[in-house]
Amino acid sequence: MIRLAVPGRLEYRDVVLRVASSACKLTRPESERADDFDNEVVSAFGEAFNNVCIHGYRGRPPGDFAVEIDVEPDAITLRVMDTGHSFDPTLAPGLAVGALHESGMGIYIMRSFMEMTYRPGRPNVLVLTKRRVEGSSGRDVEAKTR
């Protein structure tokens, strides 16, 4: 297990995403290169980080953004914890596909690219999971988000 904690401020975004991106490499043979799996994990996890910094700690001194990363061959689980505002992810507006949104895309990106669960509390716990699918490629995403 990889454990990381940083202050919940956007300037730590690069640190946090590099850990996730490097952890993705541990899910596959060394010879294989970064692929859709990595892109989707980093995209989803990056939105989770943004939301904690921007919404979770809005109007209060930022606490930590903490994550525990479990790496198995072929799967990754990121358990994100914060002590900020809680929210109800089911209330996030569905995204009208092809519409020109300027915001409100974060939760949609998370849900499209990974399995997501959320449990409000102290800390709030958001769990993102993704399994490598045999012979998978970007096409999977299309199927999953339809």
Partner: protein
Amino acid sequence: MRFSRTDSGDETVLKVDGTLDAVTAPELRPALDALVAERRRLVTVDLSALRLIDSSGVGAIVSLFKRVRAEGGDVRISGLRDQPLAIFQLLRLDRVFMPGS
């Protein structure tokens, strides 16, 4: 994030490199606002050297698109690949910004 702007006639190419996200999108805003204020006809956003984008980065480009269109211009994207391509495809924005493809 680094960006460079090149004007030739009615077209502007805005090349954005590196990471366009919640941290860096605000740094790009003044350059985007200038394109709108100058009523550029055709803006091509070259993302061939963009490594990573998030919803804030997409939001900035969508906002540019809407405002340039409102002035009668158009915005295209070129060079999309890797993680940014995955995001634009997911949000079905590839069809908006690359209508020919």
